[in-house]
Structures are given as C-alpha cells and as structure tokens.
Symmetry: C2
Subunit: 341 residues, 2 copies
C-alpha cells in the first residue's frame, strides 16, 4: 500500500459531526435512517472536510463477482457455524460471494489462506485464529492488508480487530457466582496464550476480588473442545480440588464437563455449580438448564463484514483499533449457593 | 453437453474388475492402498477396456484455483454446518476452494446460484434444497450439469443424488417404538412434499405394519425447525391426540417439542416416549438423553464431493442414479413402554 497525503477519513467526519464512525458508514451505505438534524450535521461535515469515500473500499462493495474469504478454525463448531451464517447473509445482501476455509489442526493453513488473499483470489479476509502466533501471521497480515481479525487476537497485527468483550463476560460470570456465595472457582479455559482465555480469567478474578475477602481460582487451560472439558473435569476431580463452582468457558467445554460430572454422579447445582460461555447450543435443555454468558455471535459476523467494507486501507494509522461487542448473562438453573456439606 | 461415442466408463472398469466404482476412483486418485492382486485386476481392466479418465473430470480435481460451490439451506443449522465442514475438508485435501451459499427463505436464491455455476463462477455444485420444486430448478440443473443433489431430492433432475437412507431411518425408529409396545405414534416431520419427510414416514409405517395388528400414525408435517417442533407439540397436545410415542424427525424439531413438553410438565419417557433423527447436537445431555436415528452427516459431505469429481458428465445416461448412505439408531433413555394409566 502506498502512502497518500492525509485525506479526510470517515473518522474525521464522524468526529466533526459528533457521531460514531459506524453511524456515518451506515448512513452512506443507506442502511440507517437518522433524524434529519443528525443527517444534516453529517452532510455538512462531509462537505466541509471534502470527504471522499475510499474508491477501493467502494470497490469491495460492488460487483457480483467479488469474493470475501472467511477463515475459521472449525465449521462444524456451532459457534463458528453461526458466525459463518451471519457473514454469508451479510455478504449476500451486498452481492458478495463467500469463500470459506477451515484451519482445524492443519499447520500452515492460515499462512496459505493469507497468501491466497495476497494473490487476489479474494477481495478481503475475515480471519479467526485459534492458536498463538510466533509473529509470522502478524507480519503477513500487515503486508497484505484487507484483513479483519475476529474473535481471537493476532498480536502485532495492525488491522481492525473485533472481539466479544471477554473480560466483561468473565466478570459477569464471576459476579453471578460470587452473588451465590462462591469464592473457590474452577476455571476451564482455552489455550493459555489466547486473549479470550486470559481476558475471561481476568474478568472472573476481578469480580471475585471486588467482592472482598479471600478467593481462589483453579485454572485448567487447554482447548475449547469437548475432549478438553472432559480431561479438565477428570483432572480436578482426581486431584480433589475444593472448588464449589466451575466456569466452563465454551459450550464444548461445558458438554465435556457435564458428561464427566454425570458419569460420576455429581449433581449440578447441588454438589457443584456450573456456568458456561457461548450459549449457542441448546443449553436450556440440559439437566439442569445451564446458566451461561451469551456471545453476540451473529452480530460479530455482521459487524466483521461491515468493518471489512468500511475500513480505509490506504490509511494505515487508522487501522490498528479494537472493537468489543458486549456479552450478556443468561441465568438458568445451574448455579446455587455452595452446599454446606 | 454434446453426446459422445460410448467410451469406457469408471463403472465398466469396476464391473470388469469386480470392485466398486468408488474403489477404482480412489485408486486412480491415489487415495487408496489395495492388495496388489486387486490392483492388478483393475489395471488389467483399464488396459483391456482402454479406459481414459474423463479429462473434464480430471480438471475438476487439479489446480488450486478451482472452486466448488456448496448451496445449503442454513449454515447455522448444526446438520448443515457439519456437512459443510466435511465438504470443506475433502475439498481442501484436493486443493479446491469452497464457495458457500445459504438459501434460507430467500426466493430465487437457488436459481441464482445455479446460474452462477452456469456462468463458470464455480466448477461444480453440491446442492441441498429444502423446499419443493415446480420444475424450474430441475430444468436448470439438467441444462447446467456438474451438480450433485444432496440430502433432499429435486424430482426430475437427472444428476447423481445422494441421500441418507431415510426410509431405513423411519423403519429403525418404528421398530424401536414397536419393540416397546407402541402402536399409536405421532410423527413430526418436515415439509410434506420433501422425500425425507415421506420416506421417514413410510419407514415408520412399514415397521408398525410388519408388527401386525392395528396401528396409527398421526402426522404433523411442516418444517425442520424448532418453531415447528413447538407448534406441532402444542397442536397435538391441545387436540388431545392419544399417541404414546413421538417420532421427532430432526434435532431442531426435537428441541421445540421438548421445550413444550417440559413447559407442560409432561415427563419423558414416563408420560410419552420420544425418538429423534439427526443426532448432530448434544442429545445425550438432554433430560432424558434422547434416543435418535443418527445420520452419517460427514460421510454425506465427503461422498458428495467424491461423486462430483468422479462423475463423467459427458455420459448423461449414467448420471441419473440415487445413492443412499445407511443410518443407525443410537439408543438412549427416551423410549419406554407406554404407561398403563
């Protein structure tokens, strides 16, 4: 990408009009109705600042033959399936095709797909990683551009990033557990280097710390898989860990955990409380219905595509930002005060 | 497609060598190890019959830029997500890219994607429909070629078709219910014109009829959705239908059904037995764990792609066949004899 004289950006217009970048973008895309006073302010800012939508960004949103690449770890995982579904719907309304790729445990796939983008096989890429980067991925992303990092971080990649507010999610879970009297919590998380794992854990601890008094978090960090849920459950049960509640930080982990608890005759929430994260699957039909932090999965997909189309790739200094979408707690029946025994 | 003199087909080679078409195809793709005696027989058949792999079929399986289109009703639906995942994995091993499209409730999308194929935006298409065709889709498929119809039929389309053995699935469900003494069964199915709905119902009835004596099937046919599962459940409960067992013929239908049964305090299997179909979701964690017919979802995806690559599109007379993959019953805890009361 060549440097250009600093032209007016969407952000400049937004600042001048006193609205968010998203608002200006959606107004220009015709996907938002605004009060006329607000619309006038934006139009005035556009004129005063001589704003011209980036012709390259415009190109991304026209023409039936344009293709967006979407790289996810595993399409069969309901979280990613739902996200893919949302991206496909959003792409379709804009006349864009979707080229879908899964990385699973295949080494080098992420690098290969980024190179494919660089060779113009797709016009932009939404990228969801699931393992730590030694720097190669970040470097390639920075060279290539037109990549939005979604759901998990690629540290040092200087592109727009979109995540759920994982720290808030951990905090809401921790508050809910603390409200019920829990102070010794088992945390089953993904790989320890991933920001989702770290931030959910941090949020959990922040909630317990704020409550005052001693608390303890027992961390089992591995993978967002059913297998790891089972493995972690077996480990803390065999180790005799004295936790009164378990924060199972994905639907898959919760499934593995609950299989083991059931097999060992451990009753939820009577013997131990459980709180989950994701809430994509039919957690409401589990026994008991599972309390969980719900991720805004469809919004993540829609917003990721919008960011890809709105971003002015010619302005590198405006690229490196992080946007967080809020999560919420869905209270069901799997959390109760610790039993006295 | 122009007609050619009848050249040796893969099937001719397979017949001569006494093996399946799949075996010959996989040998030629290098994806199968065979006993040398078998391999020699195949090589001999190839030479004797002067078999030449269809150059166009070969083209489908080479070159990183080749793209397969996959059209599914809804990517977020775990059944389709799993199928997409299997197709993507199989495509990736062959160096093919995957262009994914969802049809949802969007009229004309199926026709649009087929036309995209005709304009060579993709090199072949795996096509899953979810509604009845007035003939337009079939006509377009027949003109276009290089389409495999998967999971649901498009009547009069003269291309290879690949389905689960739905009739066997209904039969296994019916036998299991009949084994427990059930003779009055509520069947909740998809749209009545779809072959999955008809065949599962036919299999159910075949099993009940074989058992001898009077039997009754109460049919509620609508959609493979959670909403329709709820609606059908409310309807038969409000109508006071005297069924002792329910065949909920998809995971989504089962979820909607179970929500309503729970809300109304109806106990499974004590008050009514339930048997499902698909078994993609975590049915083993429901209360009670759900007995269900399991579809070979990943095999469907893998086989669909293999068919697309193996089929000799220049031989129209060998195109119109239907392949069925077997289903199995997964027995859990939701079926018991009808209660005496």
């Amino acid at each position: 990408m060549t440097s250009t004289k600093r032209a007016t950006s969407l952000k400049d217009v937004a600042d001048a009009a006193g609205v968010s970048v998203t608002t200006v973008s959606r107004l220009l895309n015709g996907s938002l109705q605004l009060p006329s006073e607000t619309k006038l302010r934006i139009d005035k800012a556009i004129q005063d600042l001589k704003y011209e939508p980036n012709p390259h960004a415009r190109r991304l949103s026209r023409g039936r033959s344009e293709t967006i690449g979407l790289v996810v770890p595993d399409i069969a995982n309901p979280f990613f399936a739902t996200l893919v579904s949302a991206v496909e719907a959003a792409a379709d309304t804009r006349g864009l095709a979707l080229s879908l790729h899964a990385t699973l445990n295949r080494p080098g796939r992420e690098i290969a797909y980024l190179r494919s983008l660089a060779r113009n096989h797709v016009d932009g890429l939404l990228f969801i990683t699931n393992h730590p980067d030694d720097g190669e991925l970040a470097a390639l992303i920075n060279q290539t551009g037109k990549v939005i990092v979604v759901d998990e971080d690629v540290p040092n990649a200087r592109v727009p990033k979109l995540f759920s507010d994982n720290e808030l999610g951990g905090y809401l879970a921790g508050c809910h557990l603390a409200d019920h009297g829990h102070r010794r919590v088992i945390y089953i998380g993904g790989p320890q280097e991933m920001i989702s794992t770290r931030r959910r854990s941090m949020g959990l601890e922040r909630a317990l710390r704020e409550r005052g008094g001693p608390f303890q978090v027992f961390r089992y960090q591995g993978n967002y898989t059913v297998e790891f849920g089972r493995e972690a459950a077996c480990r803390f049960l065999d180790e005799g860990i004295q936790g009164t509640a378990i924060f199972a930080s994905s639907d898959e982990i919760a499934i593995g955990l609950i299989e083991v608890l059931r097999a060992r005759g451990i009753s939820v929430p009577h013997d131990v409380s459980v709180i989950g994260f994701d809430d994509v699957g039919p957690l409401h039909l589990f026994a008991p219905p599972l309390t969980a932090i719900r991720q805004p999965v469809r919004a993540l997909g829609e917003r990721a595509l919008a960011l890809l189309l709105e971003t002015n790739w010619a302005e590198p200094e405006s690229l490196a930002f992080e946007e967080l979408l809020p999560v919420e707690i869905v209270v069901r029946n799997s959390v109760a005060p610790p039993s006295k025994s």
